[in-house]
Amino acid sequence: MNIIFLTLGVSIAIALIFLSAFIWATKKGQYDDLTTPSQRMLLDDYETTETKKDEKEEQVK
């Protein structure tokens, strides 16, 4: 049953990764706003194909 130390070790390592990820996420303000992300993901991208107008915009850049 010594194998338990390996599986425990790896499991704890995984838990620690997730814990640090969680702390990182919270500190970075990932969870400051829990309302708009669910709505923002619904917005589709503004899709376009290559046109002259776009080329102009490129030149402005």
């Binding site: 049953m1 390996l6 070790g9 991208d45």
Partner: protein, 717 residues
Amino acid sequence: MSSTIQPNAGIMDRIVYDDDIVKMFLVATIFWGAAAFVVGLLAALQLAFWPANLELEWLTFGRIRPLHTNAAIFAFGGNIIFAGIYHSTQRLLKTRNFSDFLSKFHFWGWQLIIVGALITLPLGYTMSKEYAELEWPIDIAIAVVWVVFAVNFFGTIAVRRVKHLYVAIWFYIATIVTVALLHIVNSIEIPVALFKSYPVYAGVQDALVQWWYGHNAVAFFLTTPFLGLMYYYVPKAANRPIYSYKLSVIHFWSLVFIYIWAGPHHLLNTALPDWAQTVGMVFSIMLWAPSWGGMINGLLTLRGAWHKLRTDPIIKFLAVAITFYGMSTFEGPLLSIKSVSSLAHYTDWIIGHVHGGTLGWNGFITFGIIYYMVPKLWNTKMHSERLMNWHFWIGFLGILLYYISMWASGITQGLMWQAISENGQLVYPDFVETVMRIAPLYWVRFVGGSLFLIGFLFLIYNVWVTIKHAPKKEKESYVKVSPLKADVTAIGSGHRKLEALSLVFTVILFISVLVGSVIEILPTLSIYKYLPSSEKTEPYTPLELAGRDIYIKEGCYVCHSQMIRKLPFDVLRYGPSSTIAESMYDRPFQWGSKRTGPDLARVGGKYPDMWHVRHMINPREITPRSIMPSYPWLAAKKIDYHILRKKFSVMKMLGVPYDDEEVANADINAEKEAARIYEELLSQDKSLESVKDTEIIALISYLQCLGKKSSNEGVTQ
């Protein structure tokens, strides 16, 4: 990367999403899905009607059952996960995938691995560890491709244009990190030949690592990535924000913290120490809450859109998928309770439970996503909504038939195994009697599976026509997205690149450190210091080991367990409960997970050699109603004596107490043993001349030693 970061506010970045890779993975999903379902159906048919293997060894149940599970999980499931991740991540993070080359490498590498599995599994090259059957060269390929996928994915995160990581992304991260670790730890093995290796773990240790992996394969391959997909595609398809974003975050973190500990529930009532069983059981029950958090969140996203259930087939697929997720994650903790497990374990109930999850949850959410994605990717509409509805209803009916027949079959057989009369004897001592009772249900299951496949054929036709008639793409279509705002992160591409690199480096560093420490720890783990000194176990003789590898190759473990549980009815039927010491040299362990046939842990000496020869060549000669396939090829193929020396030397290296002389003479000793068995058989039946040196001799030698290797068997009772 198609564009650079433009810090000037007000000007939009123009990017092209890489949808080609999504299309490739999507087509691969459909292609391998068909293969997985056909093979599954063939396997199901064989349980009802064994000659459906066409009497070919390559198509026999023991070999194609692993092919079915691998194809369903890693080929069908894997490809839709990758398609969904590459499609949704680009859109959620507003950037093209990190590297087109890595995406392509990922795609072709993964398909190559699947082809490798498709060839090696029917040939009998297997580790016999469930969902980790593939042999070491393919294991290495999986690790490489997975790391490539990880670099590509984390690279994409690093170059994102959106600061916030939407909850789906978190589910993908959990998947990628954990699957890498699980796969590497469970697959550490020492090669003997190109497609044969022995795991470094033995017996109970192998069992624990395997089910730690096995359960988390369900958790991190069939649950977290699909929840991630749910959190993107359900709101998109319903055009409603997720019910509670807060709940999604909470249930994500609790799920990933709890899931990893639940593995031992696959080993309840076995020789695994009780405390480990209890830990597994408790964590499994705890899992109920976060699982239902996801289910509720997914279903309630449809609030105010319930009318779409009537009209929109995509919503139908998604809603039913989430419902099945809820059912499976309720049933799972239930089955993890020791007393429920004593009834359900080794029966078809588990098969039903698994298929409720895979057909209902993974299958239906995949179909919903395919129907959502195909029109978007090919810029058209689905060819026929009617066919989508037909697919839904036929598939749904198929799942119900499958699920209900397996419930009935599992509970019936479980109760029959348990039945003890007033005078303390088994009511159904004859195993085959319990099989005959449920055999008709195998036909019902076959019909259920057929319906599911027919529904899928509708999908294939529908998607094919849709793509064929899709408008030709004339120009590359761009999307305009705003660049990451200056206040969000440090300005300047230099710093951003550095950030990207550091993330990638951290991942690689972590994996390498882990691999290093695992290699360091392993040798100490292989030693059985905790065994009682009173119980001595003999290692296998060369011929027994050869026979054992044939047992593994033919997939006998798929239908026969080698683990007598600490339960009265198990002990009455099969003998004293199995001990840890008995399997201490078993690489890999053969405890099994299903009893389509009886347990074999103490079959040694129960029947004469001649019985085994007759039974193996034609089981119905011994047991008229047996559903076991015939194995005539065992009496035709010669034993490979030559490799035994190599096998013995690897076993010795792994700590099995063979001396040098035994290793050097392994082949000669095996030949002598085989000759003894052969002559004994020949003296009883002169017509058996042809079985000399054939695999059946080695297999008999192995079967006859089962339960005989430990010195004080039964004392622990």
